[in-house]
């Protein structure tokens, strides 16, 4: 076959494959609206075109198959027969067969051995059955049945287009009678007077339809992706060159150059943005195949499932769409197969027998989120726990210290994904580790939220594009490297006095991060970089980039941390593909190259993952922090400067509202008479190392962000705690509410006296370390002897 012919065949396949995707969806839509002649028309045209082209290109098996399908469809379109579920399935089967032929053509150049005789006879059979069914209807309606029959036999689909126009009127009239017997669409005229108007209307509508088609195809063209990639690279170069010019430009009298530079600057940025856009595609290109998958799968497991798709117009980089296809399919299958319960079970639990799976895509903070939500049984942590013990993945003690969420997340562990697990667990588990690995490969994350009995939500978060990503520039020795922002959890500067946070456990260096040990890797050692700098620095302070890899945290020691930049990712070429510690390289503003660290690859190379997890991760420094891992109640207060603070409720004895006038100063300490004793009271804002110092001084009547005067009451909310058997009062502002939270999900501490931060209802809550605060306020309290 000549190149030219190959090219034509290739385009034929591309075009037809796209059409087939649409056809599948249209067939499904038809199930709800079997007489929609627009849809039938589109489907008919798709097969008709395919038949014509395949005949021309010499794919006769495809031609004869589509020919049979077309026969069936032409009758459907003209309303001679009505769509039944079995016809739908037959049409779907034809779609599959067509795809198989496409694959054959792509692989071998021919349309394969199978000529799908069975399918063809099935399609013909369906046609006969449907016509017979119709005939009996028609008989009752007392119409000219013979005439229809003749037409049906005589009509060759090849001549159909010509015949169509001539016979339209007759067919319409027949159709009219038939349709009158069925429940007709309301706007359909049912009496003879309106007939001519109808006849006119239909062809006009069709014509308009074809007009829109041409205008769409006129306004867009097919471009080879390689061309776009090349363009993208060129723009990348242009951006770098622009950066160099701007950096080297020394402002002079000559303002013309300065002006031109500004214009260059603007145009380059716009160009970059627009070229990026050409790579973006609506996620619907991938979503569109799911209705079909879900329908087929639901049928095969005898469940009733509705698939809702939200945000199908959400755009992301086409290479990403490709790499998400398999993981998403897997997860949707899982939702249908394991997530949604059987109809009987749903009824028994008082649920709608029809299960719902929602696919939802949206943009948020520079990432694309895809949620797969089902209203099924949810994942039972107990079963996961039992499985983990059986598989020796975790010990009893480890499991006890884990939250339900952590336990559910164990389905992502590699050992969990065996066939055995699926049969034993009513939840999920097939290859979820593969799903996560694939998502993480493209710099994304996946999370589960599951409520037992209510359903599960899988949240995927992936970057908009693979080509450009935000990254942190760091240095080791003389080398500068980039670490993708997506794998960075936080940055820690360990000062000299905090050096005891670095410990050795089982001969492994670890960092004590909020009382959890995380493995510590020295980047210079990992990459064999000479770095004397680091050893000197070790005396002063060290910089740790805390990476979030594979649901674990790993501390990476670097020499210096610079700024965060948008970097253009360049491949290293086939020779270095096996070097998994790098995700590529980028060219920095000064023209130098920086390698991009692949967090996952680095962690794997250093064996810092699961291995470590099993041994040490859950070891705790101090027993009192064991509770950090469990859900706990948090008392939320609004401070006078409108900040939010939380105190673990289990530390709280009582809450009191005490009159301000009763507060007294004794020996420099604020006290109040309370239940016959003297209660020491501390104001939290006075104790914390305050970044909001200015507010502290005006504490008793500050103005909040909106400039509104806060109400100054006569009473003060006092939180009574018991420390070392002594009751102490804490004033933390207005007491608002309590919340159930997981303290192990806390973010970094903001200042001394604060354990960490949480976000509740979009407000940042500083969770107080009450012991530490009281200790700061009254260093003697812990050494006091209480007789």
């Amino acid at each position: 076959m000549s190149d030219e012919e190959n090219e034509i065949v290739r385009e034929f396949i591309i075009e037809c494959s796209e059409q087939m995707d649409q056809v599948d969806n249209h067939i499904l839509e038809l199930e709800n609206d079997p007489t929609n002649s627009d849809l039938l028309g589109i489907i008919f045209r798709a097969f008709h075109n395919m038949k014509g082209a395949s005949g021309f290109l010499g794919f006769h098996k495809l031609e004869s198959l589509t020919h049979v399908g077309e026969n069936l469809l032409s009758k459907l379109r003209d309303g001679d027969i009505v769509l039944s579920p079995s016809i739908t399935s037959a049409l779907m089967a034809m779609g599959d067969a067509v795809r198989i032929i496409f694959i054959n053509i792509e692989e071998t150049g021919g349309d394969g051995e199978d000529d799908f005789e069975k399918l063809k006879s099935r399609l013909s059979e369906e046609l006969k059955i449907a016509i017979n069914a119709k005939k009996s209807d028609v008989k009752n309606s007392d119409s000219d049945k013979k005439e229809i029959e003749k037409k049906e036999e005589a009509k060759d689909p090849l001549d159909l287009e010509i015949e169509e126009a001539l016979e339209m009127a007759k067919i319409r009239r027949q159709k009219q009678l038939l349709e009158a017997k069925q429940k007709l669409e309301k706007e359909q005229p049912s009496n003879e007077e309106e007939q001519p108007a109808k006849e006119k209307a239909v062809p006009v509508k069709r014509k308009r339809g074809s007009d829109t088609q041409t205008s769409i195809s006129d306004s867009s063209i097919r471009v080879n992706v390689e061309v776009l990639d090349f363009l993208m690279n060129l723009v990348g170069e242009l951006v770098l060159t622009r950066n160099q010019i701007v950096q080297n430009y020394v402002p002079t009298e000559d303002s013309d150059i300065s002006k031109s530079l500004q214009v260059l600057n603007r145009i380059t940025s716009e160009l970059q943005e627009e070229v990026m856009k050409t790579r973006m595609q609506p996620i619907n290109n991938m979503f569109s195949k799911f209705p079909r998958i879900v329908r087929g799968l639901a049928d095969s497991v005898n469940k009733k499932i509705r698939l809702d798709i939200i945000g199908k117009e959400t755009e992301l980089d086409r290479t990403l769409i490709e790499s998400l296809r398999d993981p998403l399919t897997h997860m949707v299958r899982n939702s249908v197969d394991h997530g949604i319960e059987s109809q009987e079970k749903r009824k028994a639990n008082g649920k709608d027998p029809e299960g719902v799976v929602v696919l939802k895509a949206y943009h948020e903070s520079g990432y694309v989120h895809i949620d797969i939500i089902d209203d099924g049984a949810g994942i039972d942590p107990k079963i996961i726990k039992a499985k983990a013990i059986e598989k020796n993945l975790k010990t009893d003690e480890q499991l006890d210290s884990m939250s339900d969420k952590e336990i559910i997340n164990m389905i992502f562990l590699p050992g969990f994904s065996t066939a055995e697990v699926i049969t034993n667990i009513s939840g999920r588990g097939v290859g979820m580790d593969v799903v996560r690995t694939n998502i993480e490969k493209v710099g994304g994350t996946v999370e589960i939220n599951s409520v037992l009995g209510k359903g599960s939500t899988f949240n995927l978060k992936v970057p908009l594009t693979l080509a450009i990503m935000p990254a942190l520039i760091i240095s080791v020795g003389k080398e500068r490297l980039a670490i993708p922002q997506v794998s960075i959890q936080e940055l820690q500067l360990i000062e000299k006095e905090d050096m005891n946070k670095l410990e050795m456990l089982h001969g492994t260096p670890v960092l004590n991060l909020r009382d959890e040990f995380i493995p510590l890797l020295y980047l210079n050692e990992q990459l064999n970089i000479d770095s004397e700098e680091l050893e000197k620095n070790e005396q002063e302070s060290i910089s740790v980039v805390v990476l979030h890899v594979d649901n674990q945290m790993i501390g990476l020691v670097v020499d210096e941390i610079f700024d965060s930049q948008e970097i253009v990712v360049k491949p290293l070429g086939p020779q270095l593909e096996g070097l998994t510690v790098y995700a590529g390289a980028t060219i920095l503003g000064d023209g130098n190259i920086a390698l991009i660290v692949d967090a996952l690859g680095l962690a794997q190379k250093a064996n810092a993952l699961s291995n470590f997890d099993n041994k040490i991760k859950k070891a705790k420094v101090d027993e009192k922090f064991d509770e950090v891992n469990q859900s706990s109640q948090l008392l939320i207060c609004r401070t006078t400067d409108n900040g939010r603070m939380g105190i673990p409720l289990d530390k709280v004895l009582r809450l009191e509202s005490l009159e301000k006038e009763l507060f007294e100063f004794v020996g420099g300490k604020e006290v109040i008479k309370y239940r016959g004793n003297i209660l020491q009271v501390h104001k939290v804002l006075n104790i914390l190392i305050d970044r909001r110092k200015k507010n502290r001084d005006e504490e008793n009547g500050t103005i909040d962000e909106k400039g509104k005067k806060l109400k100054i009451g006569l009473n003060e909310d006092v939180i009574i705690l018991e420390i070392n058997s002594i009751e102490v009062g804490l004033i933390c502002g207005e007491i608002m509410d309590t919340f159930n939270v997981y303290l192990n999900e806390m973010g970094a501490s903001t200042r001394k006296g604060v354990m960490g931060t949480l976000v509740i209802d979009e407000k940042v809550i500083e969770v107080l370390d009450v012991e530490d605060i009281i200790k700061t306020a009254d260093p003697h309290i812990f050494s006091m002897d209480v007789g």
């Binding site: 990639d229 690279n233 060129l234 990348g236 170069e237 770098l240 060159t241 080398e479 990459l527 064999n528 970089i529 360049k570 491949p571 290293l572 070429g573 086939p574 020779q575 270095l576 593909e577 096996g578 070097l579 998994t580 510690v581 790098y582 590529g584 390289a585 980028t586 060219i587 023209g591 130098n592 190259i593 920086a594 390698l595 190379k605």
Partner: protein, 145 residues
């Protein structure tokens, strides 16, 4: 006669040639960014007009061993490499010469090591012998972890 143009270069005193159609351009040695953990043949990355290009140190690739006589002005022969490029770092660039492929003689059986794999033939010139390299094989470097 089947004519073929070769881009020639020197390593130490030896004279090599690669088929010219694989060569994109020849540039001076650039500042290289070292790739830690990379195979020793790959000396680093250079920025070729916005492309990140790995550079193969041909002295290492052809197992010339350590030597102090590395010339100051080494050159990079840039070749196409997949969708990007790759550089061969050589001591000195020679002329592009036109040869009759029929005159290329087999490599002596006694040749050993990597050289035997990468050199596809020899050609007798007036003053010296040209060693013809298989550029595809020369590019074929794999990371061993």
């Amino acid at each position: 006669m089947a004519a073929q143009k070769y881009c020639t270069f020197y390593l130490m005193k030896e004279f090599f040639g690669i088929e010219v159609e694989y060569v994109q351009e020849v540039i001076r040695k650039q500042n290289e960014t070292k790739i830690y953990l990379a195979p020793s043949e790959i000396s680093g990355l250079i920025n070729l007009r916005g492309h990140v290009v790995p550079v193969v140190n041909m002295r290492v690739r052809l197992e010339f061993g350590d030597s102090d006589d590395i010339p100051e002005k080494q050159m990079n022969v840039i070749l196409k490499n997949g969708n990007g490029f790759i550089g061969f770092l050589v001591d000195k660039i020679g002329e592009v010469i036109l040869l009759d492929t029929d005159d290329i003689k087999a490599v002596p059986e006694t040749l050993s090591g990597t050289a035997k794999e990468l050199i596809t033939g020899t050609y007798n010139l007036e003053n010296e012998v040209l060693l013809v390299l298989d550029s595809e094989k020369t590019k074929n470097i794999k990371v061993v972890l």
